[in-house]
Symmetry: C2
Subunit: 320 residues, 2 copies
C-alpha cells in the first residue's frame, strides 16, 4: 500500500468515528466541542498512532481505533484554546469556536474534548497496564503542549530567539503530541520499552520537522493555498527557523514587517534563497527526519515500518 492510500484510509476511519461520537451533538456546549472536530483535518496524529501500533503488532490498530481518537481530540482541544489566545477567527474554513460562540464557551469546549480524550484512552481494547501507561503519557504530553504554547507566546515580543530556543518550543508545542501519538500506539500494541522509546523519538522528530515545513509553506506556498496570508510569519515578526537563520546571516527582515504585495513576497523569497536560508532550513528539516528514520531499523522489517519512513518524508516534502 502507498502512503497516500494509507492516510486516506486512516482519515476515513477516524472521520467515521468522529461522526459516530460527535456527529449529532446535544446541547450548545457539545455543538461547540464538535464544531472544529467535524470540520475536517488530515487526522495525521491518529494515523501515526495506528501506523506505530501496526509496526509493533500487525493489524493491532483495528482494536485501538477509539484510542486513536484521543490524539485527534487532544489536538483539537489545543487548537480551540490556541485560537482564543491568538484571537483567531477562522480555521479549517470555518469560524473558530471563540468567534462563532464566545470565549467562555471555547474554553469549556476545549476542556470537554480534553476530558473525552482520556475517556477514549481508558476504553481501549488492550491490557490495563498499557492503558494506564498511555493515560500517563497523554497527561505528561499535555503539560508539555501548554509549556510549548506559553513559550511560543513569550517569543512574540522578542527578536533574539535562538535556534535552540525555537527547537525547544517546537518540540513541546508540536513535537510532543506526535511523539505521544507514536509512543501511545506502540504501548497499546504491546511494544517493548526500546520499541516505545524509538517510536517516541521518531514521532518527536516528525513533529518538529512538520512544524518547520509549516513555516516554509507559510512563505513558499502559492497564494491562496495555505489557508493563511502568504508570508504572514515574517509580516508579524514571528520567530521561525527561517527568520532566525536569516538573522544569523545578517539579513534584515524589518522592512518586511508590513502587508506585502505578491511581488514583494517574491523579492523576499529571492533574497532568502540567494543567501541560502531556505535551502538550509529545508535541509535541517530533512536531516531531522532522516536521523529519526534510521532509528526505525531496530523495528521488524514490515510494510508499516516502510510507511512510517514514508510518513516522515511526506512531512518534509508536503506542500500546503
Amino acid at each position: 500500500m502507498e502512503l497516500d492510500a494509507y492516510l486516506e484510509d486512516a482519515a476515513e476511519h477516524v472521520d467515521r468515528l468522529i461522526d459516530r461520537y460527535f456527529g449529532a451533538p446535544v446541547g450548545d456546549l457539545n455543538r461547540a466541542a464538535a464544531h472544529l472536530l467535524t470540520a475536517g483535518g488530515k487526522r495525521l496524529r491518529p494515523a501515526l498512532m495506528m501506523l506505530a501500533a501496526d509496526a509493533v503488532r500487525p493489524n493491532s490498530s483495528q482494536d485501538l481505533m477509539p484510542a486513536a481518537l484521543a490524539l485527534e481530540l487532544t489536538h483539537t482541544f489545543t487548537l480551540i484554546h490556541d485560537d482564543i489566545m491568538d484571537r483567531d477567527s477562522f480555521r479549517r474554513g470555518v469560524p473558530t469556536v471563540n468567534h462563532r460562540w464566545n470565549e467562555p464557551t471555547a474554553i469549556l469546549a476545549g476542556d470537554v474534548l480534553y476530558s473525552r480524550a482520556f475517556s477514549f484512552l481508558v476504553g481501549a481494547i488492550t491490557p490495563e497496564t498499557a492503558r494506564l501507561r498511555a493515560v500517563g503519557m497523554l497527561a505528561i504530553t499535555c503539560d508539555e503542549l501548554c509549556l510549548g504554547q506559553h513559550l511560543d507566546m513569550s517569543f512574540s515580543d522578542r527578536d533574539d530567539v535562538t535556534e535552540g530556543e525555537y527547537l525547544e518550543m517546537v518540540e513541546k508545542k508540536t513535537g510532543a503530541l506526535y511523539a505521544a501519538s507514536a509512543a501511545i500506539g506502540a504501548v497499546l500494541a504491546g511494544a517493548s520499552d526500546p520499541q516505545v522509546e524509538v517510536l517516541h523519538r521518531f514521532g518527536l522528530a516528525c513533529g518538529v520537522a512538520f512544524q518547520i515545513q509549516d513555516d516554509l509553506i507559510d512563505l513558499l506556498a502559492p497564494p491562496g493555498t495555505s489557508g493563511k496570508d502568504r508570508g504572514s510569519d515574517i509580516r508579524e515578526g514571528k520567530s521561525t527557523l527561517i527568520t532566525i537563520t536569516a538573522r544569523e546571516k545578517g539579513i534584515d527582515l524589518a522592512p518586511y514587517r508590513r502587508p506585502l504585495t505578491e511581488a514583494e513576497c517574491e523579492d523576499l523569497i529571492g533574497l532568502l534563497s540567494d543567501h541560502g536560508v531556505i535551502e538550509e532550513v529545508q535541509e535541517k528539516a530533512r536531516r531531522i527526519v532522516r536521523d529519526a528514520s534510521s532509528l526505525l531499523r531496530t523495528l521488524p522489517d514490515t510494510e508499516e515500518r516502510r510507511l512510517l519512513i514514508a510518513l516522515g518524508e511526506y512531512f518534509v516534502s508536503r506542500g500546503a
Copy 2:
C-alpha cells in the same frame, strides 16, 4: 477524633504535598499554575476522598495521598478557568491568574493543573484496575463540570430558571466533583460496586448541599466574612434556590438588583424570612444531606463513617 481535627489534619497533609510538588515552581507558566493552589483553601474534596477511602478500608488513605491531590488540582483548574469566564479579579485573598498574569496564561495554567491531576491519579499506590477506573471517573466528571458551568452561564440572562434546572446545574457544577471525590476514594481503596455507588451518591448530595449553603452564606453572612459583597447573588440577579423560591412565593426581588446598603440587606433578609424562604431553603439542603447520610448505613460501622455523616452536617451548617 472530631471532624474539625480530621479536616485540619487532612488539609495539612494536602498542603504539605502541594508545597512539595508546587512550592518551588520553575518558569512563568508553572508559577501561574501554582499561584491559586498555594493560596490556601479548605481542601474539602481531598478530605472527602480520604474519608471515603478510610471508610472502605481503614488507613488506606495514607497510600492514596498523591491521588487525593488530583481532586484539589481539578477543583483549582475549574476555578482558574471560571475566573476567566466571569472576569473575576480576586479569589482566596489573592489576584486571580487572569488578573495577575493574563487570559492566555490563565487558560494554560488551568490546562496544566488538569493534566497533572491525571498524572497524580495514575501514580496512586493501588491496583491498576482501580487506577484506570478512577481515571475514567475523573474524565467523565470534568465533562460534567464543564456542562454545569455552561448551564450556569446560560442562566445569567434568564429569570425563569426552575428549581429542577437549578438543581441539575448544581449537581453538575459542584456536586459532580464531590461525588467523584468520594467515589474515587472508594474505588482506590478497593470498594465493592455497591459501596462505590453509595459513596458517589453521598458525595453528590454533599456537593449540592454545599452549593445551596454557599448561596445562603452569600446573603446571611455578617459583612466582610464571606469574601464577597453581601447579597451579591441577588444584586446580580443570579438564579439560586433562594431567588427561585422567593419568585415562587410571589416576592419581587427586582428592586434589590442594585448596590445594597447594610440596612437594605437586613430588610431583604427580613422579607425573605417573613415569607419562610430562608427556612425552606435551609431545610431543603438539610434534607438532601440527611437522605444521603442514611445511605451510608450499608457501610461498616466505623469512626470514618461517623465522620462522613458529620462532614455532610458541617456542609449545611457552616458559616462563611
